[in-house]
Assembly symmetry: C2
């Protein structure tokens, strides 16, 4: 059986797989445990490039380890800085940007993404993105501050102009309360 809508993160991966191809540039705005960075590194292929941001050293170390094991560390630039500094590191012409909000699983749960930096990072992503390029935002509301971040981001994304942007909200009404959901943006 082909399950069309698995978890929010795997759904984001599937959608990115339809857009990102070999030679592309992609950004993991929240490297975290490195799963998304590794996935993007595979998609962009040998000639591609991934920029991965995190403010926490343990996250970047874990991500580096994961990439080394897969032999893909050469195509990734790991950046120890906030994603709201994205434009200082990443040149325009990006095919995809991933955001996986909240805290680092297994890390310090007090260190969370906040709208004060997530929103500027999104604004910069808009400028860096190629036409047809996409942004995925996996949103968690189960931790303190999560709902507030979610509602600020949703409000900002709902204000994006048509027909320049497709903004899509994908959630799972029969899953447990506060199950993660996905915002998907495509620059038209």
């Amino acid at each position: 059986m082909v399950r069309l809508f698995p978890q929010a993160v795997t759904l984001a991966h599937k959608l990115l797989g339809e857009v990102v191809s070999a030679g592309d540039t992609a950004v993991d705005a929240t490297a975290g445990n490195g799963h998304d960075t590794l996935y993007l590194a595979r998609l962009v292929g040998e000639g591609g490039r991934v920029y991965a941001f995190d403010v926490q050293i343990p996250a970047l170390e874990g991500t580096a380890r994961r990439l080394e094991e897969a032999g893909l560390v050469d195509r990734v630039r790991l950046i120890h800085d906030g994603h709201e500094q994205m434009e200082q590191y990443v040149p325009p012409g990006v095919r995809a940007v991933m955001f996986n909000l909240g805290y680092l699983p297994g890390g310090d749960h007090r260190v969370i993404t906040v709208p004060e930096s997530t929103l500027p990072a999104l604004e910069q992503s808009f400028r860096l993105l190629l036409p047809g390029g996409v942004i995925t935002i996996v949103i968690y509301t189960g931790h303190p501050g999560g709902s507030e971040e979610a509602s600020q981001i949703e409000q900002a994304m709902a204000a994006l102009p048509q027909p320049e942007w497709d903004v899509v909200r994908i959630d799972f009404p029969n899953r447990r309360h506060r199950s993660p959901y996905l915002l998907f943006l495509q620059k038209l």
Copy 2:
């Protein structure tokens, strides 16, 4: 450019294309102008079968014409009855059921789908569906009664048990107010 999330109806078609294959049985619960019936007739192939319901004769006539032009009328059974009678006509073992709610475009706008028949039709679809099978519901809220139907359906779908059902809601926050959106169900 591959646009990943076009209109709700074309998105429903795309998702069905990932699930329905040659030889399958599918149901168009709201034949209307026949676009969905024709799409399903193509997907199920020569050995497949489509059951298409509508309460309005002009809708069935238009659908029949469309199918004849495409040379596909033989694999479709057109049924002049309400979709809440679905189990009287359709044997179990269905891969997909499509609902496109509201009124018939170009027809009598006072004839609309209503929760009193849409909900029983959905209940019957649940029983007819194969494991892995899907239901797409394109929902319109721009006409009188539309919002009430939408909210009753959403409430019922949100109550479907996990892990037996994936229930997914896909809407477009930056499109015009009352833009159609999609509920997607998969039987696991």
